[in-house]
């Protein structure tokens, strides 16, 4: 069966004018990622060929352009127009500080639909501290500029220890600036963020408190608020959230957002350093269906193996697990640091995993099973891992592995020596 994702992400450039503490760009990590020195980029004609091929082979209806900072690319507007003329919905993820008002207007005019811009705090100092620049005034201005030009905006809040006290005020500010929606993601460790985990990563209790503030603000301002970075229901009781919607990891599925890097390499998502292959060399379907992609789809943390909802929850963000533990089937830091509390709750017989209805993307847990059985962990005799073994789970590929020995999942340790599927792009595409 061909993979038919709804959207693709395209990292048009690895260059960025900011150096945000929380940045997840894979090349910000010292992993030797191909475009890590930010000098390698495709020319505009090659980008068009690449995107046309990717769109044709994947059948997507939406392409979101990101980076790096996409407005640093000279031909961004031209590429937006090119995609829009193909009938695609075009999104943009930008930091608001590169490109002036006119360029944003041109981007909207060319066909950029929704533009995501970070609004990390209503306090200038906090926003600037998190971005390590003077980004606040420009980011707020660009949010209004996009609206004034007839576009749609999504204000993006990355929840960290630095800004979690300010969530409600930040959402109010987003409303004032005309944002159509707010995306509130917990800090997801990867890229530059790996160096600042202690500084940034909130505890489940802190995250819950901040999300409750966001829930209140969503009600207060009637603001659609989404959380796309997975929040594990065993760590945060999602039943408290009636308005907010939470995502689970869709990587390498039809609901995923396969990511194309500045050189045409295809990855499972923008947080993952795994390169499935290069689109100049291979067909999208061949890459999306290769062994590395299949292993990505199948991976689950061993800690979660006997959880009844693991297939929906996926154990959190696989890319973060991969970036930090070296194994896509490992535990991402948010889970690894807090799993003891989950273990204790299990032992005490607490119901965990409440509030699955808040999962915007997950439906399987409500299909054909009594609701009650979906909302707490059970010790299933059917281990997900053993099931996967019996299906002949393929070997993992990937660009880099950190701390391979720390991988918690013995099944995945077997893949450490797996074939590296990274294909540097040919020079003529640079």
């Amino acid at each position: 069966m061909p993979i038919r994702p709804q959207s693709l992400l395209f990292e048009i450039t690895a260059r960025c004018n900011l150096n945000c503490l929380y940045c997840y760009n894979v090349w910000k990590d010292d992993c030797g990622y191909p475009c890590g020195d930010c000098s390698a980029e495709l020319d505009t004609a090659s980008i068009k060929r690449l995107l046309a091929k990717a769109v044709r082979e994947s059948g997507v209806s939406q392409v979101t352009i990101t980076g790096g900072e996409p407005f640093l690319h000279d031909d961004l507007v031209e590429i937006i127009g090119y995609l829009a003329k193909m009938g695609l919905a075009v999104g943009l993820i930008a930091n608001g500080t590169a490109g002036g008002e006119r360029m944003y207007r041109d981007a909207v005019k060319a066909g950029a639909g929704i533009v995501e811009i970070p609004l990390l705090s209503s306090e200038r100092a906090i926003h600037n501290a998190m971005t390590r620049g003077t980004a606040f005034d420009l980011a707020t201005e660009r949010l209004v500029d996009v609206k004034s030009a007839g576009g749609r905006t999504c204000a993006v809040i990355v929840l960290t220890k630095m800004n979690m006290h300010d969530v409600r005020e930040t959402i109010a500010m987003a409303a004032v600036l005309g944002a159509d929606s707010v995306m509130i993601n917990r800090f997801n460790v990867g890229g530059e963020g790996r160096r600042h985990v202690d500084e940034l990563l909130p505890s489940p209790a802190e995250l819950t408190a901040a999300l409750l503030e966001a829930e209140a603000a969503a009600e207060e301002w009637q603001m659609p608020i989404f959380s796309s970075v997975p929040v594990q229901p065993c760590l945060v009781d999602l039943s408290q959230f009636k308005r907010m919607r939470f995502g689970t990891c869709p990587a390498c599925t039809d609901k995923g957002y396969y990511t194309i890097d500045p050189l045409g390499n295809l990855r499972p998502c923008n947080h993952s350093p795994t390169i499935l292959g290069n689109l100049f060399e291979s067909d999208f379907q061949a890459l999306a269906g290769n062994v590395a992609a299949a292993a990505y789809r199948a991976a689950r943390p061993a800690f979660c193996s006997d959880c009844a909802i693991v297939d929906d929850c996926q154990g959190g963000c696989k890319a973060a697990a991969e970036a930090c533990g070296g194994c896509v089937g490992g535990e991402e830091p948010f889970l690894a640091r807090n799993k003891e509390s989950v273990r204790k709750k299990r032992e005490q017989g607490h119901k965990l995993g409440l509030g699955l209805e808040a999962w915007g993307r997950s439906k399987r847990h409500t299909a054909g099973r009594p609701a009650e059985s979906n909302v707490h962990y059970v010790h299933s005799v059917h281990s997900v891992q053993s099931a996967r073994r019996s299906e002949g789970a393929p070997r993992m590929g990937g660009v880099k592995r950190h701390d391979k020995d720390s991988c918690c999942n013995p099944d995945h340790r077997r893949y450490r020596g797996g074939r590296n599927v990274h294909h540097p792009p040919p020079n003529d595409h640079r």
């Binding site: 639909g113 209503s122 306090e123 200038r124 005034d137 707020t140 201005e141 209004v144 500029d145 609206k147 004034s148 007839g150 109010a172 500010m173 409303a175 004032v176 600036l177 005309g178 944002a179 159509d180 929606s181 301002w221 009637q222 603001m223 659609p224």
Partner: protein, 395 residues
């Protein structure tokens, strides 16, 4: 619109303004307070942003108005293509039903409301398709007037209207449009909910036409001279609320085109604007809360719409003022956000009969709120309208 160009609103402005214009002025004054207007009025309708009648409405009715208003805003902004789908259309129609059942609007108003919103929202192309769809509605009306839309034909009519409804989302897999093999349009499958909506629309379409002696003399009988045509345009332009069911502007405009008093492009735009604005005054004045246009998203529930209507713009303006005062937002950003809010208010407004009659002070001014650049064709049409109105001898 002059209130924006002057960036000043006086007590006189408000006391002279009638109905919905009064509330738009108050809303604009609130925004001017944020962006640096000279005079702030808060006392007339303290801080509510709602018309007095809207404040006494039952929640269901107020919500219905809010939903309709949000839809109309989108239609006015010619964003129907990307913003509205069949679900939105359904909400519009359900809101109409609520209003009719509650007695909040008459069948006449409801009929025009539905026609305007439905036609406006149906069009992929804001100009051409709207006119085409209008013709379809008119054809339905003609069928009724000719006695051909008898009860046994209701089913066909229903499907016809249902088709219009489904045009919002023709690509949707919910419905497959099939060209008519004969005289009856078929839609397979037509969801029951859509049929219900179509029934309501049809009811609205086939009831209550204005009596033949309705309105002043210039609205009766055919247009026979340029003066007649200008008189019709002037009357319907300046007093649309007084004659909500009269649609003679098309005839008058066509006459003026035939006599080379209007260029065809401007004429089409004027027809569009007339169609758009004619039912708007009593829509706003009687029931609708001011300020639902500055909302983060189309309301997903009736409750959402009600809350948005009651809260958002006044609160957003107040919050903006606070953010500006505390320095959390820079002055540049505050001013831009203020303009955004002002524009949202102006989008739902109509031209004021101010003394300043330049093109910028016509209905088209909602396209030209700086820094938004008004499209040239609208400027041209606005100028043409201003000249026409100025040429009316009894002005």
């Amino acid at each position: 619109m002059y209130i924006i160009r002057r960036r000043t609103i006086t007590d006189d402005d408000v006391s002279r303004a009638r109905g919905w214009r009064r509330h738009v002025l108050i809303g604009a004054a609130m925004v001017l307070a944020v962006i640096g207007g000279e005079i702030v009025l808060r006392s007339s309708v303290p801080g509510s942003g709602l018309t007095p009648s809207a404040r006494t409405l039952t929640p269901g009715v107020a919500s219905a108005w809010a939903t309709l208003r949000a839809a109309l805003r989108t239609a006015v902004a010619c964003r129907a293509k990307e913003s509205l789908d069949s679900r939105d259309a359904m909400k519009v129609s359900q809101s109409c039903e609520t209003l009719l059942r509650s007695g909040a609007i008459s069948m006449t108003t409801g009929r025009h409301l539905v026609r305007t919103i439905t036609v406006r929202l149906s069009c992929d192309d804001p100009t051409k398709s709207m006119l085409e769809l209008r013709k379809e509605f008119q054809a339905l009306q003609a069928l009724r007037l000719e006695g051909k839309l008898t009860p046994d034909r209701v089913s066909a009519g229903r499907d016809h209207v249902a088709r219009l409804m489904l045009l919002f989302d023709a690509a949707s897999s919910e419905a497959k449009l099939i060209d008519p093999p004969g005289e009856t349009l078929q839609i397979e499958p037509v969801p029951q909910a859509v049929r219900n909506v179509a029934d309501t629309l049809l009811d609205l379409l086939v009831t209550e036409d204005p009596p033949s002696d309705y309105g002043p003399p210039e609205l009766r009988g055919p247009v026979k001279s340029v003066e007649d045509a200008i008189a019709v345009v002037r009357l319907l332009w300046r007093e649309p609320k007084e004659y909500p069911v009269v649609n003679k502007h098309d005839e008058a405009i066509d006459y003026l085109v035939g006599r080379s008093r209007l260029d065809p492009e401007s004429a089409e735009i004027l027809k569009e604007v007339f169609t758009m604005v004619c039912p708007l005054p009593d829509f706003i004045e009687d029931q609708a809360p001011v300020g639902t246009c500055y909302i983060p998203a189309t309301p997903s529930t009736v409750q959402d719409a009600q809350d948005l209507a009651k809260r958002n713009i006044p609160r957003i303006a107040a919050t903006l003022a606070e953010l500006k005062e505390t320095g959390k937002l820079s002055s540049d950003v505050s001013e831009k956000a203020g303009r955004l809010i002002a524009r949202a208010l102006i989008v739902v407004s109509l031209p004021d009969e101010s003394d300043d009659s330049s093109a910028h002070d016509t209905a088209f001014s909602y396209y030209c709120w700086e820094p938004i650049v008004m499209p040239e064709k609208y400027k041209k049409a606005g100028t043409a309208l201003s000249e026409l109105l100025a040429s009316s001898s009894d002005d």
